[in-house]
């Protein structure tokens, strides 16, 4: 049994078309992994910077995993939403990143995209908001069947993650 401890934060987001953003996040791992301690899901507050470009969240992440194998290394899924002035939330981006496999502190930039629909839908979205959402967010981190997606480029989310590994070397794993 080896252990992995991720401590860090969802620091900020930049490059999105407008402000008032919040982020839903979740950490998923394969079957051999168990969460010993910590929250694997959460949602940040809504940040509305008055003059900076980046939204700042500094949302804490602190998860302790134990694992039976290397397969299914944990990854963090992000969904960025825009909270508009009528109180509606629309998807502004999906993104994911693997938790860095080497110990130490890492600055991770997660690129995000969002699905787009037909021309009429894009026209409606421009004036009314809303827009297409994924049926299941699993598609964000699965490689199969992605060719069906038509997406557009959105902003980048910046993470700061510190990784602590334990007992991996004991089982002949080099990270």
């Amino acid at each position: 049994m080896a252990e992995l401890h991720v401590i860090g934060q969802i620091a900020s987001a930049s490059g999105f078309p407008s402000h008032n953003l919040f982020c839903k996040w979740g950490i998923h791992a394969g079957g051999g992994w168990r969460v010993i301690e910590g929250l694997t899901e959460g949602q940040t507050h809504v940040d509305n910077p008055s003059w900076q470009e980046a939204a700042v969240w500094c949302h804490p992440i602190d998860v302790h995993f134990a694992t039976k194998g290397v397969q299914g290394w944990p990854k963090i899924n992000l969904q960025i939403y825009h909270y508009d002035r009528f109180g509606r939330s629309e998807v502004y981006g999906y993104g994911f990143s693997f938790i860095p496999s080497s110990p130490g502190t890492h600055k991770v930039d997660v690129v995000t995209w969002r699905p787009i629909g037909s021309l009429t839908e894009q026209f409606k979205q421009h004036f009314l908001g809303g827009g297409a959402q994924l049926k299941s967010p699993d598609l964000v981190h699965s490689a199969t069947d992605r060719y069906r997606l038509q997406t557009e480029t959105m902003g980048t989310v910046h993470l700061e993650l510190s990784v602590i590994l334990r007992n991996f070397t004991k089982f002949g794993v080099e990270t």
Binding site: M1, A2, G32, R34, I36, A66, T67, K68, G69, V70, Q71, W73, K75, Y94, G95, F96, S97, F98, P100, S101, S102, H106, D109, V110, V111, T112, W113, I116, V140, H141, S142, A143, T144, R146, Y147, R148, L149, Q150, T151, E152, T153, M154, T156, T169, K170, F171, G172, V173, E174, T175
Partner: protein, 579 residues
């Protein structure tokens, strides 16, 4: 003014989980009687000239030495007292004050009055020997506290609003029961954001200093006829029970034989100097208790790790012996500076000889198509492979170092009418060292020999493509010492940013931890080969053992033993030959 024998006053901050009642501080107070700094008007002209001749520093030093030696000789005047936590020791002034019942107004003062009556009935206090006393938490020490709150030597101290708020908070916490605060906190927790909180107390509440119990160790250094005129704070001890932090200022310094003292000049008079030492006098826990505590702690730790093991299990998926498992967790993140705006990527992993993969279908894929903004396309496409390098196949080949798998890709664009254009070709050799790797690959695309093909590409789509994508690296059918790509015309295209997290796993000898330093690939391989050869020896031994068992029928015990001996010999022979 600094002094050679003086010690700087720092606050000592300690964290403890033990009950504070065990705290004991011993104070050693000594009057330095030697008036070693003579006043200028008493010094003769001759003496002054003498002092000028010698260096003034050495002169003072010699006087100091004589002064201290004199003081050390005369130790009967030293006062040593040990104070327990919140132990009330009355000063001479207090004894006089509270002895008279008409001065006692509160319940506490009346209690002090009773205590003093019992003390004075037992013995009359020694006039000179009772300089040390304490103020405990319940005493009124507002004047000392005010002095404590000014960090400078300014004659007109200005307290900012935080100081005033902190003092209010401390008074409030002293007199208001704690559970009222807790109720307030509970109420506050339900409302996340409070409007218009401009209250300084609100911000100070979390500080450990806010809810401290205090104790002052004091000295009354005034002469006999004006008792209580010169009270000096020797030590302030503050204790926050909630966080277990103990503040001792100045810090505990140790016994007089080992450490420099703190100094007090009475009324700024350099001839009337006191030195004092603060010592920790709490009795240490016994060895037996320490051992018991350590045992308990290790038991708790073991229990927790047992619980964890019960949930997850102690085993770890080892890879097969004789293989090196390469796990890639990565993403194709960004495509940049391509001509077209709606891009997707088609990729596959090219596995050389000796490599295999658990899941064949994931080795190739097509990403989602994505519209660019500012020449940048965010793909975020996952790359998750588990590749295995078989060492037995490697031994047969002539290569010294195994060829490493490559990620080959072509970037394509799709327009509104469903026409495709090839935007660029590129390849990445997967990183062979463990860790995180950021790789940027620049791509190119072939162009035809005439401008017609470019015109066709622009207007109706379609352009020259590579028949075999492995041509971007070393083509599969290539043989010979020289790889020539002369004759293919290309134009540079955009770049592809990828991230790879590489985790290597090889079967290690059980129970032996691998070194944490990133090992060279060859070392790792040789370790794995060693394991496989040991396995071969074991298999040979097992075969011999089975043969022996088959031949055992009809043999007596003596013959059997002989046979066993020869079997082991052959096994060791095999082992040596393999080594």
């Amino acid at each position: 003014m600094t002094h050679g024998e003086e010690r700087d006053a720092f606050t000592g901050i300690y964290k403890t989980n033990d009950p504070i009642q065990n705290l004991k501080i011993r104070v050693h107070l000594r009057h330095v009687k030697a008036a070693h700094i003579p006043l200028p008007q008493f010094v003769n002209e001759d003496q002054e000239r003498d002092l000028d001749g010698a260096s003034s520093a050495s002169a003072t030093a010699s006087v100091t030495v004589s002064g201290t030696s004199q003081a050390r000789g005369n130790s009967s005047d030293d006062e040593i007292k040990t104070f327990a936590w919140q132990e009330k020791v009355f000063s001479r002034y207090e004894i006089d004050l509270y002895n008279d019942i008409s001065n006692c107004h509160t319940a506490l003062q009346e209690q002090y009055h009773k205590e003093i009556r019992t003390i004075t009935s037992v013995h009359r206090q020694n006039s000179q020997q009772d300089r040390l006393f304490t103020y405990v938490h319940n005493d009124d020490v507002s004047s000392i506290q005010e002095d404590e709150d000014t960090p400078t030597l300014s004659s007109e101290p200005h307290h900012n609003h935080l100081v005033i708020a902190m003092r209010q908070l401390q008074t409030k916490q002293r007199y208001v029961p704690r559970n009222i605060f807790r109720r307030e906190k509970m109420r506050r927790r339900q409302v996340l954001v409070q409007e218009g909180q401009g209250n300084a107390e609100f911000h100070l509440q979390g500080l450990p200093q806010a809810a401290c119990q205090r104790m002052y160790i004091m000295a009354d250094l005034s002469s006999l006829n004006d008792v209580g005129a010169n009270e000096y704070v020797l030590c302030v001890v503050r204790w926050n029970a909630a966080s277990g932090s103990l503040f001792v200022s100045p810090d505990i310094c140790g016994p007089p034989t080992e450490s420099k003292p703190y100094r007090i000049e009475v009324d700024g008079d350099a001839r009337n100097v006191y030195e004092y030492w603060l010592e920790l006098a709490s009795s240490d826990t016994s060895e037996e208790e320490k051992v018991r505590e350590a045992e308990l702690r290790s038991k708790v730790y073991r229990h927790q790790s047992d619980l964890r093991k019960a949930r997850i299990g102690d085993d770890f998926c080892a890879c097969q012996s004789g293989t090196l498992s390469v796990n890639i967790f990565g993403q194709i993140n960004i495509l940049q500076n391509f001509d077209d705006h709606n891009l997707f990527i088609h990729y596959f992993i090219d596995l050389p000889r000796g490599w295999s993969s658990d899941s064949e279908e994931s080795l190739a894929g097509i990403s989602a198509s994505c519209k660019a903004s500012n020449g940048c396309v965010h793909l975020g496409h996952p790359l998750q492979f588990n590749l295995k390098l078989s060492l037995s196949e490697l031994e047969d080949s002539s290569d010294v170092v195994p060829r490493w798998p490559q990620l080959m890709f072509e970037v394509l664009s799709m327009d509104w009418w469903g026409r495709f254009r090839t935007e660029g070709y590129g390849y990445v050799t997967l990183p062979s060292t463990a860790g995180q790797h950021h790789v940027t690959t620049h791509t190119w695309r072939p162009i035809g020999n005439s401008p017609v093909s470019e015109l066709r590409r622009f207007f109706i789509g379609g352009n020259p493509e590579l028949e075999d994508i492995t041509y971007v690296g070393i083509p599969h059918e290539h043989e010979g010492p020289l790889l020539g790509k002369y004759g293919v015309q290309t134009v540079p295209s955009g770049s592809v940013d990828t991230v790879f997290n590489v985790v290597l796993q090889s079967s290690s000898p059980s129970g032996r931890a691998m070194s944490t330093a990133p090992s060279a690939l060859l070392e790792r391989l040789s370790a794995a080969t060693l394991v496989s050869s040991v396995n071969q020896v074991l298999a040979a031994f097992r075969r011999a053992h089975e043969r022996m068992l088959a031949a055992k029928q009809g043999l007596d015990l003596k013959d059997l033993n002989d046979l066993k001996g020869t079997a082991t010999e052959t096994a060791t022979d095999t082992q040596e030959s393999v080594m």
